[in-house]
Amino acid sequence: MIHRQLQLFWLLLCRSSSAIVNIANTLLSLVYNLLNVFLKLSSPRKWLADQPQKSMENRARFRLLHLDYVAIREVLNVLDPTDYINFSKVSKACRKLSAIKKPYKVCLTILTSSSIMIVNGSITYQIRWTNVKNNYGTRMEWLWWDESRKYLDRCSENPLDDMKEFYQYARSLVGVDIDRAVFDMDHFNGKCREIVDWLGLNFSEMQALCVSGRDQRQEELQYVLDNVKVKDSLNICAETIEQLPLKIPETIQKLCITNGSWITLDYVMSLKMSQLALRDTHLTNQDLNEFLKSWMQMKSHRNLESFETDLTNHEDFPVVGLRGITYKMGPRRPEL
């Protein structure tokens, strides 16, 4: 009888002990979880900061900032401009490291897409913002002789604003000014003055400007010419509705006007640049003769080094255009 009771007691003890262990386990895990939540809530920064470190420990990583300064600079120097800019955004320390003046030349283009070309020696990086979604993040590379051109396409709801933002950030970081700008006014989408004002606000002058467009208002084109300060070369391919003479700043050195149907002899005589290229003009051979004589006798255009134009009448030019001028006919230039 006693033996039977002992057996029953032992069985009960075994069953209850496993239940006790289970309960204790549940309680302990509950306490642990609560404690964990409490710790995370009490020091969220530390907890968040620990996360990447833990994930990094699992994979091999490269501690760039533990290298010598010379090596860090060498690495940064070979980064693509977009990667360089992304690096600068990692932390304040990275921004400090990357905030160095670079000798890049920058070209801004507003054509079918907005883009920035960054020229670093023989490598040209072009970053294009388009609203074509398929193009996001596409990278291409072209090699022309010893020159390499690398493209990066970025999809954007507002390509123009994104390009401006990118440029302003790059400028604040590496101090690059725009060297050239290429505009197609047909793609300004009514933002001509906004773009020009932004350019005027951000830098005093650029080396070269090329403006194109069809059936543009004279007033708008003149606004561009008046407010974008160009130092060296101006290329006007834009066609205006009014087709009236444009006021060209006298400070520039090279002027090229395509679609120059509005150019008169008086207008040519008033130009002071050192290189002139005037196309599609209505200048007659008589007009050209007058201009050439004045230039050769140094009565005008004392700075002028070269002059290019297309002729309205090829046959008469030697007789009329070169009347009274000693000349030598060179080989005919191949058609471009």
Partner: protein
């Protein structure tokens, strides 16, 4: 101390060929130097190969060792791991007297090895190899976002930097206080 013979093939004098005697320039025997890293394994390297390293080249120019002296006094680079020094020596031998190509695909792919290699190459001042290595390091983050770059290059966040700075200041303060107390104790 064990020894490996690196670049010795060039040490063997070339057999005379059928070239006319008047055209043959007198051959100058190539001199060799010895280097060892943390593992004390000595590498025999020709002076031509070592020219890639501005540091070693400068040391050689200043010391004017004879072959025996060079053998007896290998250049110690205790801060460079043996396998990394081996890689550097191999590279120098491969590119001895040759124009360096624009790319080098034989560099280590493992990040830890590459890190150590950059440190070593920068220390030894091997400009071309440093350029290759740094290109490879730059390739790690090609097309990556700032957050991805942070992870790949293990860059601390601003908060972590600030915390580290505070910690360093606290430590410096404690050390300074300890020194002042010690100085005061000495004065008494």
């Amino acid at each position: 101390m064990s020894s490996t013979e690196q670049g010795t093939s060039s040490a063997a004098p070339a057999e005379p060929t059928t070239a006319p005697e008047s055209a043959a320039a007198p051959e100058v025997p190539e001199s060799f130097y010895y280097v060892h890293g943390k593992d004390k394994v000595v590498h025999k390297v020709s002076a031509g190969a070592l020219q890639h390293s501005a540091l070693i080249h400068g040391m050689i120019s200043n010391l004017g060792y004879t072959e025996e002296q060079a053998k007896a006094n290998p250049f110690p680079f205790e801060n460079i791991d043996g396998d990394i020094l081996q890689m550097v020596v191999d590279w120098c031998n491969q590119h001895k007297g040759k124009p360096t190509p624009p790319e080098d695909t034989n560099l280590p792919k493992q990040k830890e090895k590459l890190f150590d290699l950059v440190l070593a190459v920068n220390y030894l001042e091997i400009k071309e190899l440093l350029t290759y290595c740094c290109k490879q390091v730059a390739m790690m983050v090609k097309g990556k976002s700032p957050e991805e770059i942070r992870e790949i290059w293990m860059i601390p966040t601003d908060a972590e930097d600030e915390a580290a700075e505070k910690e360093a200041k606290k430590r410096a303060g404690k050390e300074a206080a300890g020194e002042t107390a010690a100085a005061a104790g000495d004065a008494k």
